[in-house]
Symmetry: C3
Subunit: 126 residues, 3 copies
């Protein structure tokens, strides 16, 4: 049920981009108990000047490889699960495609379970 929207700068390879989606999906599976194949990931590739993100906020040194991840999820997880998700995404993306932990920005947008339709016009989780 998560719907993930990823923003990166243009110029990364198809393998690199796919690995980002794989890592997010695996991390959601591991920490948020997301069912198998519940994978809905959209990627937006930006020109440099469309990607206006600070390189040093909070003392974190971000590079050209910053990945901004916004994930809509149901509001059923607590703080510890969210922390586990952030750590798992960073760990996965470091392993492949090799993204520095400083370069992973995550924002969760929580919604009610009834706010999803996976097809057929039904509210499958309501």
């Amino acid at each position: 049920m998560p719907l993930a929207r990823i923003s990166i700068k243009k110029g990364r390879s198809a393998d690199y981009r796919k690995a980002i989606g794989d890592g997010i999906y695996d991390a959601l599976r591991e920490t948020f108990n997301v069912p198998e194949n519940d994978r809905f990931i959209l990627l937006h590739q930006h020109d440099d000047d469309e990607f206006d993100c600070d390189p040093g906020y909070m003392g974190i040194r971000r590079s050209e490889n910053l990945v901004v991840i916004q994930i809509a999820v149901s509001n059923t997880r607590g703080i510890e699960q969210k922390k586990a998700l952030y750590a798992a995404i960073v760990q996965r993306l470091a392993a492949s495609p090799g993204i520095r932990p400083e370069d992973v920005f995550i924002n969760l947008v929580e919604v009610q379970k009834e706010n999803w339709s996976f097809g057929l016009g039904l509210a499958q989780y309501a």
Copy 2:
């Protein structure tokens, strides 16, 4: 007041794309009592590998024509209205441009009424 963000794969015609917006608008009018001309719809067209959505989750057979619709709305509707919206969108998009019910994914993001400004720097619904 809804702000709809649609994601599809590249390659559909202008008429096809317009019909998606028309169907969403008409369904919002019909089921969410959205005022006439309250239409704010953004479309994102993705390359194949930017559109990473499972073709079978929950046993629903999705095709290349999957439409992912994320709509920000005020938090004033109950479950029955949401179900009616999902059904209405699917029905409209099946009629035109002819999208299979399996190929319509919807996510609602609810916000407070004061979270909108339609112009002029005012909070028109607050």
Copy 3:
């Protein structure tokens, strides 16, 4: 911590586009007490038919220069602060790059403070 997503039509200059980000950032600093350098802004440029926004809803005359701004923020501000933000964004964008107040559409999406990770896999605000 705000994550701003801006949508405009294609064809504006780089300076024009940068000024929109500057104005939003400055307005957030001024009215939402956002820390210095807490700037994360993504821009999406749309073809005409990807940008399907009503030119007259609520009696506001919108032009080709409409800017649609969706900002994810923590849920710590009241109505007065939100009104101040809307007014400040409109004022800033009117000053530079010279956008009419009618052409600024804003939607806030509120999330919990624990819903952010600014890097390193940590929930810095939790």
